[in-house]
Assembly symmetry: C2
Homo-oligomer: 225 residues x 2
Amino acid sequence: MTIEDITLDDRGVMLTGPRLGVMGEQMEGMEAKMFDVDAAGGHVSFNGLELPMNPMIGVIGVAPEGDPINNGTPDRHGGNMDSKKITSGADLYLPVFHDGALFGLGDVHAKMGDGEISVSGLEIGSTVTVTLDKAHNMTTGHPVVIDEEGIYMMVSHESLDAAVDESVRQMIALLHPHTDLSLSELTMLMSLVGETQINQVVDPLKTARFFVPNSVLDHYNISFS
Amino acid sequence: MTIEDITLDDRGVMLTGPRLGVMGEQMEGMEAKMFDVDAAGGHVSFNGLELPMNPMIGVIGVAPEGDPINNGTPDRHGGNMDSKKITSGADLYLPVFHDGALFGLGDVHAKMGDGEISVSGLEIGSTVTVTLDKAHNMTTGHPVVIDEEGIYMMVSHESLDAAVDESVRQMIALLHPHTDLSLSELTMLMSLVGETQINQVVDPLKTARFFVPNSVLDHYNISFS
């Protein structure tokens, strides 16, 4: 699918507290903080510090393969991947497990970094426009995002170590058939240009993304659209 | 210290093989690959694919606190942190455990992404110039890098989960006294603007870095130099 547009409301909220996020053990009580969002200006103010917005979709996915998965958890079906890369202009590819896919989205943020370390982005009401299509040139067992910078393989796991390693392996498995490189050579190339990145570490499965720049796709004439 | 300059030789090497890096279980034999490096042009060619160089220092540190640590392992003293952020123009702050610090560096790469997933960057001979100084306005138990983008707290651990969490906590502990924010508010701000990033996942301790942009330091008039 293509994320066509994310239109934000003018008021959002963050929260954090005990046992939530990376700092949860040091928190003494739940705290919420309201924000006025200047969507037209593209900025949000945090105690007088002007910050650029980066609207993004936290939860987006299809019905999972087996047992139901609550909307707070990410996995192969998408779900709460909390990636700032899932934003306007990006293409998101998801595996489909059921007839009709049973697509849904929510949990839009006006701003968030990588990690979502407080357990919250700047949560906000939103109207989102997406174009859904059946992918004819992509087979993946995990969510894949392609944007103007490159391609991202997103893997969720209880262990960030396992999520990162599997995101690398899945990306190499996806790209290898499209190149003339040996597995050793492609692994070296990925070591040079690839980037192990992190969507979030709090959902409670953690989501890693492995990034490869479009220059590699272009050189090998790889197109998934 | 300040990394003043990294001058590269004109020939480098990569390697990967069984039980090395993220793909080690799928590798059938050791492979090495030589590269001609056009240091003046700032590019390196990988089978005809022109890639921009990003020279960086893999191993840099002081003598560790307790037992000796081999040069292939990172920890609080620095060591094999393999960070592409440790490059020309960056300031690196290290804790000092012994009189005179006993500084050393090596393992320069002409190019590497985040993760060093093959267990190797583009390894190359180099002449590096650094300026060493005693920091008068920084107390940290882990390596800290400051560059034109922002500040990075680097923490190494067997578990990437633990390394990421501790890098966030150490950064918040460093910044908190310089702000007028409650711990909850600072945690929210870090969730909005901070980024959980990864130096490497193969050394064998893994090194996470937590990034905060300079706009936050500037707003709170925080200067460590």
